[in-house]
């Protein structure tokens, strides 16, 4: 038997030593908690504050910089924003009464410890965020970053992560419509698993995480609560005077996608029946988070009988129940006269639902355990008034050295060195970051729901929202962290540019942004400076583009020893399209179509894929950011798609024109014959730079002969430069770069597909 640390007991025993440091609290934070509660906290209160005030839940290091989002959001940007930053996910209006919600989240560390379950529960968590807005989840994406392809740990982590993303998402019946797979030594020991989910709903169905209505029921429903994810807080067990010693608590959460699928359908039935007054998913910090956030956002008070929580493991102690991160659970606020209907629906889906307590207006979150009060705190102090740090920032001095070490001295093939250019193409094409990712993406169901108009390997995921009109959304996630390493401000804006361009090239008008900011330790002034630069860059970039940031996620401490990952501010852009069936797609299809390069090419090779793959080099300045050019280009792409001008359209990014051409040939096995003459002439660059420079705001398009004129007019009207490259070839033909080199389809294919299959097959 053990003694229960009640509020009354805590008041009588002010001097008990408490393990605040082991729980990750600082001494002033602990003192602050004592002040808030007016005595020493109970064990359960301490547990709640410690998880809710952690970096992960409280954003204590990043919060001060988030003012930049608001400062850079104009009224015009707010127009389409139905729900902004601060809720579980932002919601945007896409017209015709439809709203979409989307958000990205990281599950980096858990995926390193247990790749399958870590990645699986990452998907599960972000899907619940989307569900909690009242939406039906309609697609997922995953952005993955690993260490060196040849490192044995990559062979341990990658297959598990991919199987986990697939295992969970496939079983939920959500099409996976895109993402990234990136290899870079900087992620060795700190792989990144960022998952994104998008959901759709009618505007009037938006739900919020608010506990309103005094006397309303607080209902926990879904899976039973186990000891998942609380391994780290086993320190508490020693504080509870337990005689048998702490039971074993797993540090990893295990997901049950089937339970989540049922929960999705159950929630949608509940929403349709209008029996939910407020709803919150249970994710990080479990019940601590759900109860305090709901109460804090609503009437301000709540009373919970914690002993009513259905348990999978009866040995769990109250503080453990409060912190458990067991998956597949939701919390709803239900009006008393709706409860019966609510429970009838959960019963239909065989989902366990339990009334835990009620909404109050006392301004206190009160938790009891078999009638005794173990928590009595102001919920805002737990959920929203955690500590805030102004961490020191400093631009690292090594950046000067890095900037100076540019690519001018690296050996480049000359204009007449066809063999050298050809070799460079095939080498870059086979490099792990450009190589075909189908070994990964074939493990994801992209067809389920029947609304996928575009997915891997095209530039963006495109899904239909309204079956009858064809209205839909496009989504892309991007970040080239090499550019961020060279310049975090420009790098973040380049990530934004690329995601924006990928959405536009699929024919959709960019509308809103989410992000997932992956960085090293916030206690390192260099990391913190890069973080600030990235947030500022995204906020200012979004303002320029006129598309708001609707939400996101921060992941710090992605570092080994004092070596941090490259700044990796993942950017997700969402666009809207009136008729998704008009999307052009990224590959050559029709022989004889004319191929054009839109946009300006400069001799920009620093940080490029060529410099990485052929020279193992990283230094210099990233390509020039030109958001105005991106906007003009997007206008051409959106209007051109609507008028069905394009046969295909594919954006240029890593590997430049050379890789865009090769990918467009490989997409459907239809070749092309091009000449670099116009490009080199107009832009005054070498054949090599024409092929491998990574200048932004460029896309490759093909048009039928009778569409050349409309294209030229569109480009002229929007001041988008165009250069004629050549024509689409026969099915089965390869790539011909006149006066330079030729590669047949088989050789292109072999170079492209071999790398990942060789590394992971068998």
């Amino acid at each position: 038997m053990s003694t229960l640390d009640t509020v009354a007991h805590a008041a009588q025993t002010p001097d008990v030593e408490q393990p605040w440091a082991e729980l990750g609290l600082k001494s002033d934070e602990y003192a602050n908690i004592r002040e808030i509660v007016g005595r020493r906290p109970t064990i359960a209160e301490l547990a709640m504050y410690s998880v809710m005030w952690s970096e992960h839940c409280s954003y204590k290091s990043s919060k001060v910089h988030f003012a930049l989002w608001g400062e850079n959001t104009t009224d015009q940007m707010r127009e389409k924003l139905l729900v902004g930053i601060g809720e579980n996910a932002g919601v945007v209006d896409i017209g015709d009464g439809w709203a979409v919600t989307f958000k990205a989240e990281s599950h980096n560390h858990p995926s390193y410890v247990e790749p399958y379950q870590g990645a699986a529960t990452g998907v599960g968590g972000i899907v619940r965020d989307i569900m909690s807005m009242g939406a039906r989840p309609i697609a997922v994406m995953d952005s993955l970053r690993f260490g060196n392809l040849d490192h044995p740990d990559t062979a341990r982590v990658l297959p598990g992560v991919v199987a986990g993303v697939g295992g969970y998402g496939n079983c939920l019946g959500l099409p996976n419509v895109g993402g990234e797979v990136v290899f870079d030594d900087c992620y060795q020991g700190n792989p990144l698993v960022n998952a994104l989910c998008v959901g759709a709903m009618r505007v009037e169905d938006i739900h919020l995480a608010k506990a309103t209505g005094v006397g309303n029921h607080v209902v926990l429903f879904g899976a039973k609560t186990g000891g998942d994810g609380i391994g780290g807080v086993s320190v508490l067990a020693s504080e509870t005077f337990d005689e048998g010693g702490p039971a074993k608590r797993p540090a990893v959460q295990v997901g049950d996608p089937f339970a989540e699928k049922v929960l999705i359908e159950c929630c949608l039935d509940l929403y349709a029946a209008r029996v939910v007054a407020g709803i919150q998913d249970l994710g990080g910090a479990g019940l601590s988070c759900a109860t305090s956030e709901l109460a804090s956002n609503g009437e301000g008070g709540m009373r919970i009988e914690l002993d009513k929580v259905p348990l999978r493991d009866p040995s769990l102690r109250p503080e453990e129940i409060l912190m458990s991160e067991s998956q597949e659970r939701m919390m709803a606020i239900v009006e008393p006269h709706r409860l019966e209907e609510f429970l009838a629906i959960t019963t239909k889906w065989d989902v366990e639902a339990t009334v835990l307590g009620e909404v109050t207006d006392t301004g206190r979150l009160v938790v009891t355990w078999h009638g005794e009060v173990i928590v009595d705190v102001p919920p805002r102090s737990v959920a929203h008034e955690g500590p805030t740090y102004h961490r020191p920032l400093a631009r690292p001095t090594y950046l000067d050295v890095l900037t100076a070490d540019d690519t001018t001295d690296l050996a480049r093939p000359g204009d007449h060195d066809g063999a050298g250019l050809r070799h460079a193409l095939l080498t870059v094409l086979a490099g792990p970051n450009i190589a075909d990712k189908s070994w990964v993406t074939d493990q994801y169901d992209r067809y389920v729901m029947g609304n996928t108009a575009m997915a891997q390997p095209d530039d963006a995921g495109v899904v239909r929202v309204d079956e009858f009109t064809g209205l839909g959304v496009a989504l892309a996630t991007d970040c080239n962290s090499r550019f961020c390493a060279l310049d975090p401000y420009d790098g973040a804006q380049l990530a934004l540019s690329e995601a924006y361009r990928n959405v536009a090239v699929s024919g959709a008008r960019p509308l809103a942004v989410t992000d997932c900011l992956n960085f090293g330790s916030p206690e390192d002034p260099g990391v913190m400076w890069a973080f600030r630069e990235s947030v500022r860059a995204l906020a200012e970039g979004c303002k320029f583009l006129g598309i708001p940031v609707t939400g996101g996620n921060v992941s710090f401490y992605n570092q080994t020893g004092d070596v941090a990952i490259h700044p990796t501010p993942l950017v997700g852009v969402l666009g809207v399209m009136q008729d998704v069936s008009k999307r052009p797609g990224s590959g050559f299809r029709t022989e004889g179509e004319h191929i054009y390069l839109l946009g300006a090419t400069r001799d920009e090779l620093d940080g490029s894929e060529w410099s990485r793959v052929l020279h193992g080099h990283l230094g210099g300045r990233p390509p020039q950011v030109d958001l105005a050019a991106e906007m003009r280009l997007a206008e051409v792409l959106v209007q051109g798609t609507d008028k069905r001008v394009f046969g295909m359209a594919h954006d240029l990014s890593q590997g430049g024109l050379a890789i865009a051409l090769a990918e467009s040939v490989l997409r459907h096995g239809v070749g092309a014959a091009v000449s670099l003459r116009e490009v080199t002439h107009i832009w005054g660059v070498s054949a090599f730079a024409a092929l491998f420079a990574e200048s932004t705001a460029r896309v490759l398009v093909s048009v039928r002969e009778d569409h050349e004129r409309p294209l030229a007019q569109l480009c002229a009207a929007n001041s988008v430069p165009m250069a004629h490259l050549g024509t689409v070839g026969r099915p089965g033909s390869g790539l011909v770069v006149q006066d330079c080199f030729e590669v047949d389809l088989d050789e292109l294919q072999a170079a492209h597909t071999h790398t990942l299959r060789a590394a992971f097959a068998g």
Binding site: N170, F258, K261, Y444, R446, V448
Partner: protein
């Protein structure tokens, strides 16, 4: 013409199957796993997905759903029944179709477009195809390897009950490259690939899947398989 689509907990492609039925011109009727009636449908589709999470074995738990007793009765009586992917697995677990589906030989979930040869056009689900016609259909599963003992395989081959065979490379190690089979009478057909994902231009790899649904509508119109209307 009423075609029922059963939803089990964990069914995923039920809404797609309903859409396919509708687009091809029949009335789609949602059937619930706990129903003990088939609501007067003329044919039944068991859709793809992960019924009961695919835990234990794919289809093993769904097979004991109350609605399956009605489906089994109806199938035995001659009603056209189509099992797609998880539905195929359920039909095998119910012993309405011979054999079983096991983990793909490469052990990975695989979402690819496959070519199939239609080898039997005498079933109500394939009569609109040409014999030996090659069609392209989406395949997506982790446990799609068709296995059966040699005697069963010989029987299926001899009786022409291999309805679909993978053309080109075998994507999952299925014995005899079998993608789909029928029961003896031909009214019950199961296959791993997903015709319901191949009915709309621009969504899915082809529109070859329409043939499944137009076939059964034609068969029902012609009076085939109406013997046991429930």
């Amino acid at each position: 013409m009423r075609i029922g689509v059963v939803t089990f907990p964990g069914s995923l492609d039920d809404r797609d199957a309903i859409r396919a039925v509708r687009l091809c011109g029949a009335e789609a009727v949602s059937l619930w796993h706990a129903d003990d009636t088939l609501h007067d449908v003329d044919a039944v589709i068991l859709p793809g997905g992960f019924s009961y999470g695919d835990y234990l074995r794919c289809g093993a738990i769904a097979r004991f759903a109350p609605v399956m007793d009605r489906v089994i009765d109806a199938a035995t009586g001659g009603m056209p029944v189509l099992g797609i992917c998880n539905g195929f697995q359920i039909l095998c677990e119910s012993h309405l179709l011979p054999g079983a589906l096991i983990r793909n030989d490469h052990r990975l979930f695989n979402c690819i477009d496959v070519r199939l040869v239609v080898e039997n056009t005498a079933t109500p689900w394939t009569r609109d195809f040409g014999r030996w016609q090659e069609i392209t259909i989406a395949l997506k599963n982790g446990e799609g390897g068709y296995v059966a003992d040699q005697r069963t395989l010989d029987m299926l081959e001899a009786e022409g009950r291999v309805v679909f065979r993978y053309a080109g490379s075998n994507p999952n190690g299925s014995y005899n490259a079998i993608a789909g089979v029928s029961n003896e009478r031909g009214n019950v057909v199961g296959l791993m690939p997903h015709p319901e994902h191949c009915v709309e231009e621009g969504f899915g790899p082809s529109t070859d899947g329409r043939g499944f649904f137009t076939s059964v509508i034609a068969a029902l119109a012609a009076g085939t398989g109406l013997e046991v209307r429930q």
